[in-house]
Amino acid sequence: MSIQVIDVSKRFGTFEALHHVSLDIEPGELVALLGPSGSGKTTLLRVIAGLEVPDSGSILFNAQDTTAKRVQDRNVGFVFQHYALFRHMTIFENVAFGLRVRPRALRPSNEAIREKVVKLLKLVQLEWLADRYPHQLSGGQRQRIALARARAIEPKVLLLDEPFGALDAKVRRELRRWLRRLHDEIHLTSVFVTHDQEEAFEVADRIVVVNRGRIEQVGAPGEVYDHPATPFVYQFLGNVNLFEGRISRGIAHVSGRRLAAPEHDGAVDALATAYVRPHDIDVSVQKSDSAVAATVDHAVALGSVVRLELTRHDTGDVVEAEIPRDRYDGLKIVHGQVVYLAPRRARFFLETAAPTSEAA
């Protein structure tokens, strides 16, 4: 089933949670809503589910407006961040709930319910927990039960709110892969909310970056990472260094170096901020006019790369650079040494658009 979000706005008091948001989700897609806390991503998910009614705009399932439809009749599978399992029911009864509350005419027989619940529990590999209560389960197990319960009503859409947020790192990675595999088998249109970019990149077909109630960018994970549409997306997806520069007719001048900036070929001598990933910075021990001097404060080896923390001499800003291990060993850098930095690759945003206060 496809989902269309059309021009949805939602306020809570004076807080604008969603500002004219529009989004298309294809049938069978697995989409991540990625953003910092308070960005409106959970509100968007709840609006799609029907748990919140938008102030304006509409939600279409398969091109049909759902606005007038009761939540009970929408057939949406929803997995809550803290699972919201019914604490006084066994795991079996939790999964069976959606079938037991159907109107009598549509309710399956007890036999059919049992069969179906057992099948779902097998799917999440937890059939041996059927008679336990939620509080007797681990977080990861509860998460899988919450998913089984949502699947019991054969939803056309599956929505997950921070599905791995409350789990520890190891369980989280396992569940991520498991969810991806499950989705590849069944291809149920799914949307999940996360603030963890790694999670979004690993699991989702497409990523929707949300910030301050607006969608900043929609795209495949690689596309969003390589071509961030806005300064926010650039900063949100990984560490970034900011360099001041000027752009004239598609050529940027940053700390004495010239870099191509074809997206700004209309600009004439405009102030611009260069967003540079740590691994796009050249580090050299040779003094050069086309590089800025900086002192090494800190060096951390992270597997095959070494992360350097440096202080620029001209601005006093802290810069983070990542260089390969062999290069680091070859340069023989020591703590307190002065080195020279130059951005190798950068993405430029003209001064009016760039937030200067958050220089990293």
């Binding site: 748990l51 009970q72 929803f78 803290h82 019914f86 509350v101």
Partner: protein
């Protein structure tokens, strides 16, 4: 290693021993205070009730007026508790599961009867339904008597026990949040399913707790009921009022015999209450 540990240990030990005398003294003072004000009165009720032997005790409890008083007490509680139960669930549902302006004012108003003197609680019903009151004359014309009759006693009992169940449920349901209900709605549950399969089972212990306390107060209320009762023996006397009459007539054995029934009710209440608390503690610990 042992040498290093020895030094601080030897410094701490004598101090710990010196302090050990304090708890014993504090426990002693606390128990003396509780004995003076709690255990002794409780013991006195049963002692006085049985002072003249079982025969007198049985006769006092089996007395026709005593039975009429017991029946009226049970009737008042049987109306007040369910009425406040329905109200408590409704109020807690509205307050805990929804946001609306004026919510904290509403919570304060629900607590109001707790801080009103029982005598004043009785008086306000006299002012509404008494012959000098707003509706009294009109009701009297239709032959309806509220004050100095059973309806007044029931109303006064409802008033003084009004907040018990609501104030147990409101914080409990607020703490539980809305997610389970939202999950149920998404799975297709209607209002009836929500109430009976999700919300009430989740608050059953808090509900029981409130009912137990509400019932104890309903059966034991004295001041408010005293004002609206009229003290007609066998007709408008609840058990606490019956005790007062016997006591004022110097029938001490009979008064304490009836009092012992209410004291037993109080003890049963405390046992049930403790049991519920331990159930709740166990369920939240696991």
């Amino acid at each position: 290693m042992a040498a290093v540990l020895d030094l601080p240990m030897s410094v701490v030990r004598p101090r710990a021993r010196r302090v050990a005398g304090v708890p014993v003294a504090l426990v002693g003072i606390a128990l003396a205070y509780l004995t003076l004000f709690l255990f002794l009165p409780l013991f006195a009720v049963f002692f006085e009730a049985l002072r003249k032997g079982w025969g007198v005790y049985a006769a006092a409890v089996a007395d026709a007026d005593a039975w009429a008083a017991i029946r009226l007490t049970l009737l008042a509680a049987a109306i007040a508790v369910p009425a406040n139960l329905v109200f408590g669930v409704a109020a807690a549902w509205a307050i805990a599961k929804f946001d609306f302006p004026g919510k904290s004012v509403l919570i304060t108003l629900i607590d109001l009867p707790f801080s009103v003197s029982p005598v004043v609680s009785g008086l306000i019903y006299v002012l509404v339904f008494g012959l000098q009151g707003w509706f009294g004359p009109a009701l009297a014309d239709h032959g309806v008597k509220v004050i100095f009759a059973v309806p007044g006693i029931v109303l006064a009992t409802i008033f003084v026990t009004f907040p018990f169940i609501a104030r147990e449920l409101i914080p409990l349901m607020q703490a539980q949040g809305r997610e389970e209900e939202e999950a149920a709605v998404l799975l297709g549950a209607n209002a009836w399913h929500l109430l009976w399969r999700v919300t009430l089972p989740n608050v059953k212990w808090g509900l029981l707790y409130g009912v137990i306390l509400c019932n104890a107060r309903a059966m034991g209320e004295f001041g408010a009921v005293s004002v609206v009762s009229g003290h007609v023996r066998g007709l408008t006397n609840t058990l606490p009022l019956h005790i007062e009459i016997l006591y004022n007539e110097y029938q001490f054995a009979g008064a304490f015999a009836c009092a012992s029934l209410l004291a037993i009710l109080a003890l049963v209440t405390l046992v049930l209450k403790t049991w519920v608390e331990s159930r709740v503690a166990r369920e939240t610990v696991i």
